[in-house]
Amino acid sequence: MDKPLNRPIQQTLNDFSFIGQDNVRVMDEVYEEDSFWKQLVKRIAKNKGSVFGFVTITLIIFMALVGPMISGYEFDEQIAGHESMAPRIPVMENFGIFDGSETLKTSTGELVVNKYETIEGGEDAYHWFGTDVLGRDLFTRTWVGTRISLYIALVAVIVDVFIGMSYGMISGYYGGKVDNAMQRSVEVLNGIPNLVVVTLLIIVLKPGLMSITLAIAITGWIGMSRVSRASMLKLKESEYVLAARTMGAKDMTIMYKEILPNIFSQLLIMSMFSIPNAIFTEAFLAFVGIGIPVPMASLGSLISENFKSLTTHFYMIVPPVLVLALLMLSFNLLADGLRDALDPTMKEV
């Protein structure tokens, strides 16, 4: 599996090598003891990247649930006087980092300021990620925002799997008139720029989480349907499908039992890609000013909000960008692991 291209040589060597008793016993154990899921877990666990991805996602979900509760601040609490404070973390401050000081590159020279020392009661205040321009704790906001973004990720995957995958498979499988009609409808829907549909839709409805969900649901699955249709086209003529059909398998069985397992990995990766797309759609809406209604936050809206202070208070945009990037990286790595574990063609290697 590590060096796929070396396989033929290895196999040749194996053919001629002596098969000991030990090898046979091990093979037996695998089939006797492990269920499908156990195998799956084992296979995923073998891939370091996917383990990292899984752990990070778990950690991020955990922080999204717990983070806002342990900071001691509310996500929409504006503390007068605490505007634009740099991060300050206990213990670490003693090493001269994250001690709440920041360097302002003013046009008249660099200026090191530490708001914690100048404001009343600042000595005892800790904002682990700093505060935004309205004096709200960014640690709390980042994790509250992560919740919304995770929710949107979930919506995206569900929509992809339930609508996109099925739509594409049905369209590809039946072909002919059905395919034609279904593809023409998609073309109309997809032909209208996503941006226009989403923006128009949200302005027509009231801006809010429900409208954003709906907007993503309406447009998010098209890419997936295209890929699953293409895969279906590739596979439906293959011998094993023909074989299944000859043996009297129903269309649904062929589609979901025979073909789906073979293309699921590819589709899964595609659906992982729809996560950043969905999250960015939301971030884009925030950028245009019709995203999650304030004072609520999402990672996307936090990025566009704090983007406005990028050249003045750089630290504000770092936490949401970092969490978002980590989340994306983890989803991708996990998707890779899943693919390797699920893909029947890869199993042989």
Binding site: L5, N6, I9, D76, E77, Q78, A80, E83, S84, L104, K105, T106, S107, T108, V133, L134, G135, I203, K206, P207, V288, G289, I290, P293, V294, P295, K308, S309, L310, T311, T312, H313
Partner: protein, 554 residues
């Protein structure tokens, strides 16, 4: 197998790198050339580089409505008057003005040396044409109502389509004499004449270019300090050259003005620091970095931001509740920690620096302030309101436009109102401006954060907003005494007596604010950076924000 993949990898990599590096070398070569080529050229020519926040919407003086369009138009076209550095109207195309004894007529003698950039002289007919065009309902000018404000005979009838535009009270008795008849005295008539919608246009030229007026340098005419040399609709760069035919060209030092539309304020600031721009507007946080810079300038703008309460909504018809809301937020904190751009708390509705009265003093100097931040008083008013209404909790939506500053201000308002007033909940609803306007026009709102910019230098530009059934009185606040004072000041008895009128307007403001008919928040300021080798730019709060006629770049 291994060797193979390495080789092919290298090859495919090399192919892509080749492509990339091809772009690179081309780019870097060009950089060097242009740096050398441009540098000396810039020192020879004095061109002012100015940042705009938004594209020009129209170059047509009778159609344009926004500050940006006004600024570019005013650089190329001159009217009867212009605004000097103190904000006073001074003659431009007018050589002498004669005011009738009753204040009901004006005779303007125009200077005879003014010409359009196509060589035609600027005549009184150009004004008559432009004014009729402004008043004609078919033109669809948003500012046509200002003809009624100027008080011209038959203006309102022409606007309503009841009379032909030719019946408007303006005629050219000869090429250089403009006669104007007013229906009632208008104390600020001359200052109004420096406002863009009253600027002239050449009828022959307009007929020639037709609908394509203002779509390219060829379809534009100039009679002012500069002429357009590069322009297209919704352009992001606009170039103006000095107009050599301008009658006062000797006093214009700059060789031209280049506008660049940059919507992202951080990018604008970087370009400024790079030296690409001479004048930029700062936003919020950037002020922290530049406020000690000698090039930093704070300019007062006329815009007044306020909350309009919809008095048709249950609860908001109660004056005590409105008062509680109006006094429960700390305006100083909003201007100092959120806006930072020189905006000031507004405890009034007629902005500071808007208008000078018959006593020679600014309106605000001699009038009171109202609805100051007072959390204790707000709580008392709220208690009174609660017992009057028999209700303990209130939830109001707050309509906000989707701009950065408006959203931030709304969030602070929400936070402060909710913490100072027990039982009051504010729900922010953000939306595009057009949607907000529609909702407010339909009275489908509770509270709306909105603004009004002055059209002319008189308190009336604000006072007439809140008369009963007024076009922009979305909240339907109504007070008979207020109506009487305002109507009488427009064209009634009070309009004949400048001093009594001034006092009446002060009284009107006190009636409005003591009843908390609107909830003022702040008066907008602008934080701008001007390179230290640039001087002579005039900033104004009313009408034209910036004038470059006398600007110098060393």
């Amino acid at each position: 197998m291994k060797n193979l993949s390495k080789k092919s990898l290298w090859l495919s990599g090399a192919a892509s790198l080749l492509l990339l590096s091809a772009c690179d070398t081309e780019a870097t070569d060009e950089v060097d050339e242009s740096v050398e080529a441009e540098a000396p050229a810039e020192t020879d020519e004095q061109v002012l580089n100015v940042q705009l926040n938004v594209e020009v919407a129209s170059m047509d003086p009778q159609i344009a409505t926004d500050g940006t369009s006004f600024e570019v138009i005013a650089n190329t076209i001159e009217g009867l008057y212009q605004t000097d550095s103190d904000g006073q109207a001074v003659p431009a195309l007018v050589e002498s003005a004669e005011k009738g004894e009753d204040g009901l007529s004006y005779t303007f003698k125009l200077r005879e040396d003014a010409t359009w950039s196509n060589g035609e002289p600027v005549t009184a007919h150009d004004f008559v044409y432009a004014w009729r065009r402004l008043a004609d309902p078919d033109t669809g000018s948003e500012y046509s109502y200002i003809m009624g404000i100027a008080g011209l005979v038959n203006a309102n009838e022409v606007l309503a389509g009841e009379k032909a535009p030719e019946e408007l009270g303006v005629q050219a008795s000869d090429d250089y004499t403009l006669d104007v008849q007013l229906a009632n005295p208008v104390p600020y008539f001359e200052s109004l004449m420096s406002f863009i919608p009253f600027f002239p246009l050449n009828e022959d030229f307009m007929t020639e270019v037709g609908d394509s007026y203002g779509t390219s340098p060829e379809t534009l005419l100039a009679n002012g300090a500069y002429e357009v040399s590069s322009y297209e609709p919704a352009a992001t760069t606009i170039e103006l050259d000095k107009n050599e035919e301008y009658y006062d060209a000797d006093n214009v030092v700059l060789d031209g003005v280049d506008y660049q539309v940059i919507k992202d304020s951080q990018q604008a600031m970087l370009s400024y620091q790079n030296g690409d721009l001479d004048l930029v507007t700062l936003a919020g946080e950037q002020v922290d970095l530049f406020k000690d810079d000698p090039e930093f300038v704070n300019v007062q703008a006329g815009y007044l931001w306020y909350i309009s309460p919809n008095t048709l909504v249950e609860g908001l018809e109660n004056a005590n509740l409105r008062k509680a809301l109006a006094t429960s937020f700390d305006k100083q904190q909003i201007t100092d920690t959120i806006l930072k751009d020189g905006s000031v708390p507004a405890d009034y509705i007629i902005p500071d620096g808007l208008a000078v009265g018959p006593d020679g003093k600014d309106f605000r100097e001699t009038s009171d302030t109202y609805l100051e931040y007072d959390p204790e008083g707000a709580k008392e008013s709220l208690e009174a309101a609660k017992s009057e209404l028999g209700q303990d909790s209130f939830t109001f939506g707050l309509l906000v436009e989707d701009t950065e500053s408006a959203i931030n201000v709304a969030q602070v308002l929400k936070s402060q109102i909710e913490s100072n007033l027990d039982g009051v909940t504010i729900e922010i609803e953000q939306m595009p401006k057009k949607t907000r306007l529609e909702r407010m026009k339909q009275a489908d709102y509770d509270l709306g954060l909105t603004r009004w910019g002055p059209d002319y230098a008189d308190p009336m530009t604000y006072a007439d907003l809140w008369v009963t059934d007024g076009n922009n009185n979305d909240g339907a606040w109504s007070n008979a005494d207020y109506d009487e004072l305002v109507y009488s000041s427009i064209d009634g008895e009070l309009s004949l007596d400048d001093e009594a009128r001034w006092e009446a307007l002060k009284e009107a403001e006190s009636i409005l604010l003591n009843d908390a008919g609107v909830l003022p928040v702040y008066q907008k300021g602008n934080a701008v950076m001007v390179q230290d080798n640039v001087s002579g730019i005039d900033f104004h709060a009313v009408g034209l924000p910036r004038v470059y006629k006398f600007a110098v770049k060393e």
